[in-house]
Symmetry: C2
Subunit: 553 residues, 2 copies
């Protein structure tokens, strides 16, 4: 990042601006940019393999020291080609190659190369779907894409879609930045429908939660969700003024699915308290930690019985509906009142894209906002019913991808993930060194390494001895995950499963969505873990925690 000593200083003047705004400054610059853009656009995965996350591990502290300066210089510091060369040659090596088939730890993975082309076009057009005047056909196109995914979820009849797809007053769904904001939007709508305007009160959105609850004699609002829910649910309850304590965790069964008896008991108990209102029950289609799907149909039936909003967090699992083979795993989702799906997860879109859908096209009326210059009452501006204002036209990417891939193309990806995860589970079960903790229902599983001396839990082991064993295994698996991440060959994540009545368990977590991830690669991941354990953990004093370990443990 040192500048050459003989070069001309860069200046900001009108001529430089004119140049910099419109095209590369000269033929050399154009050549350099062309080279990189060609690599990215036409050899994405090779480009990423060769350039990203391949250097030796650098401690975070060392890396941080390079990014300390906080001044914005008056004159340009670098030319465009220098900036781009540096991103690719100096930054990218210390980024994370999420597109590697060995990166099976998080819900971020390889994306099809054409997604980059599509996003490039979206960037160039720079439309803003908040209003028709800055998006026009893109707003119309977006409505169609929303209808397609709505239909995938709710499967209402042709007449329904003909009536609502382009009807300005109807809202089938809404694009937001991510699943967190999609869940927030769903609960925002549910909150406002729980406390609508009434004779003496203008509704919660207008008068606030304290007044709305007071008006109805409600002292507590509750949201019921499996204890394995995503933290965005608690966050949404916090943001909406309900408070985290409004979120009541419902125990899961042995398969990590919400226990229906527990839900029924809780609903019945809450109904007996006239000062408590249940705002929503949330079912999860693909829990973040274990990938399991709650019994959506049974939850839906209870919600109907109790007259409660039923939200499904399908941020992860939603696109499984595209698979003829496994779509049935989500049965019951069509009875939901609202559904979250993330585009940047199993629709394989680039970061980031969240969506929320409503069965009732009038549901989002409960959160409509107008302004004097846009979003005027009666206009077709999409910003009227939306948590966010200005946003990118990601509908173009999703709509195009659906055309290019077809449901069938997506199904190949989905099926590959689920089936490879099952094969991975079989591999884990075959190895004495590992214990499968949660089997994959979709394409996520958790497991842990259990060294021989910890394998015998013995019937008569004291509670104290059992706790010591859990503690030791937790420590081993924390270390193992960290050392493997630092070695940089492969990556699984870890989490701590916290379930009522069971000890907190540290597990290794694997998410299989890269179509190039094979059972052979997963064998190699296990081999490496065994090796790391034998060479770096067994019998060794606690290791140096490394780049983020100290703060991450």
């Amino acid at each position: 990042m040192q500048q050459g000593e003989t070069r001309q200083p860069l200046v900001a003047n009108q001529e430089a601006l004119e140049r910099i705004f419109h095209r590369p400054e000269n033929e050399h610059s154009r050549m350099v940019l062309t080279k990189y853009m060609n690599q990215i656009l036409f050899g994405l995965h090779d480009f990423l393999r060769e350039n990203v996350g391949i250097t030796e591990e650098i401690p975070l502290k060392t890396l941080s020291e390079r990014f300390m300066s906080s001044r914005i210089a008056h004159s340009p510091v670098k030319k465009l080609t220098e900036v781009i060369s540096e991103i690719i040659e100096e930054l990218a090596p210390h980024a994370v190659n999420v597109s590697s088939p060995y990166f099976v730890g998080h819900m971020t993975s390889a994306i099809p190369f054409f997604m980059v082309h599509l996003n490039t076009i979206v960037t160039a057009l720079n439309q803003n779907p908040v209003k028709l005047e800055t998006s026009k056909v893109v707003s119309v196109y977006e409505r169609q894409v929303l209808a397609k995914v709505h239909r995938l979820i709710f499967n209402r009849d042709e007449a329904f879609y003909q009536a609502h797809v382009q009807k300005p007053e109807s809202t089938l769904g809404s694009f937001v930045e991510d699943g967190t904001l999609a869940n927030l939007t769903a609960l925002w709508v549910a909150r406002n429908r729980l406390f609508p305007p009434s004779a003496g009160m203008a509704g919660v959105e207008q008068e606030g939660l304290a007044a709305a609850m007071g008006d109805r004699g409600i002292r507590r609002v509750r949201v019921l969700v499996s204890e394995l829910c995503h933290y965005s649910i608690r966050k949404a309850a916090g943001v909406l003024g309900l408070g985290n304590s409004a979120v009541v965790p419902i125990a899961v069964d042995q398969n990590n699915r919400m226990s229906i008896p527990a839900l029924r008991d809780t609903l019945a108990a809450l109904r007996r308290d006239p000062e408590t209102a249940v705002l929503a029950v949330i079912g999860i289609a693909g829990t973040t930690e274990t990938g399991t799907v709650d019994p959506l149909g049974a939850i839906a039936d209870l919600c109907r019985e109790y007259g409660v909003h039923f939200h499904v967090d399908a941020a992860w699992g939603g696109p499984v509906l595209l698979s003829q083979r496994y779509g049935g795993l989500l049965q019951g989702i069509e009875k939901a009142d609202s559904v979250t799906i993330d585009g940047h997860k199993q629709f394989y879109l680039p970061m980031s894209n969240g969506m929320v859908y409503f069965r009732d096209p009038a549901a989002m009326d409960a959160v409509a906002y107008h302004a004097n210059y846009i979003n005027r009452p009666g206009s077709v501006d999409l910003g009227i019913r939306s948590l966010v204002g200005s946003r990118s036209a990601t509908a173009l990417v999703l709509g195009s991808a659906l055309d290019i891939m077809g449901a069938g193309g997506y199904a190949l990806l989905i099926d590959h993930g689920i089936e490879t995860a099952r094969k991975f589970a079989a591999l884990i079960r075959r190895r004495p060194m590992f214990e499968l903790v949660t089997a994959p229902e979709l394409n996520i599983l958790t497991y842990r390494l259990v060294p021989e001396e910890y394998r015998d839990t013995g019937k008569g082991m004291s509670a104290e001895a059992l706790a010591r064993r859990t503690e030791a295994l937790n420590r081993i698996n924390v270390q193992l995950q960290r050392l493997q991440r630092e070695a940089g060959n492969s990556f699984v994540s870890r989490t701590t499963l916290r379930r009522a009545g069971r000890p907190d368990t540290v597990v290794l977590r694997s998410v299989i969505m890269n179509p190039r991830t094979t059972p052979e690669i997963l064998e190699a991941v296990l081999d490496e873990q065994e090796q790391i354990y034998r060479q770096r953990i067994a019998g060794v004093a606690e290791c140096d925690p490394g780049w983020s370990g100290a703060m991450d443990a």
Copy 2:
């Protein structure tokens, strides 16, 4: 969108998938893609001028009829090259060419061509800054960019930035999707700091607003902001459970700036009520409708006196700080507790990028969330203190743009906008047919067309006659803006200025930020408006409202 009759049907199978995921299917496909990508990456503005928004006006209804189908086909519908050709050749002509120098109506404009290159790289790397494990150096880089903008706003000393820029426990700011969510985040933090955990109460985020207010004997929470505030403030109050009625509009003075006497009176009156708490006062640096800047220093002083959180909505005006000539217009912003800035506005980033900054690096502790698999306590994951979870690494775009442009490069754009707006105001003042309604303080002005017969307001005109005149002028200007938009040569927006004690006034609104917008172009815009008035409005019965007019009026 008809498929050729002799072509092979597209199928989704493993081989097709392997192909589609990784590279263009053949040399022809690669050539087509190369052609378009070259046009976009190396001739952006020519590309947009030639391809976007150039066809004759199509009624929205006709356009909608093309996007009715809501089925996702099982097999791929189109090849990648077909999809991209169609976007460019069939969709783009009906999008809006926001990059035209004649498009001076909204806060969306031309972006420098290199922004597309940068966003393409960000898309390809697909990092997710929610956690270090999916972003690593990008998280560190983002912290630096946040520090740079924080310093631009708050200008704290070098030791402060050295201490906080890379300190995991410190949060100088946060990236969100747009200004709406930035304002929401700021008020979320302010709400939680108003109702922190106390002896008997675990804080509003945990226990909810009703309990928190009850605990303190508070019945009403208020947010004070100029009557010209962005609608996102009301929305934020609604989302946060405060209710829209919590937002108290403070009258503006003759220059459309918040009246300090009115603010002082309101604060004093509210203090006398022990059941009312003031959550925040919001100053605006660049109102959406008129571009004016509230007296930030005076507001800050009152906020200190009353111990109230001071938020500045500088979504529009923030980057004016980069201008040596006009940065002083924002004096007092450095005393704010929190500040919103939009990257996709005057930082000229692609859609969409919002940011919120906090003077106190510990402020966002009030909204910290953890999870078992990421964002664990003590980790450096940026997702811990953030409204959103997964998101795009837009910090790379902003940081790179600052390096390429320098403050000086941005200042040229900013200064051009402000000075061209002033010239435009002078042009309007010179023409008898137009009335300048709000002069530009930054680069936004409003005006209206006033035909000769409405020019004499006469001292003795009755209130009723005055109201009829306003009504007639409003109708004329609504029509004028619509007809000009439909003609497709140029675009100004319109809004209705609603200010206490003055009649609601429809105005034409012009936002000057495109460096190619010249006084000559603005003359042409006025010429066209005069011509439209003479040919299409004067003496003609009310026109057909056109594509969105009927619903938009």
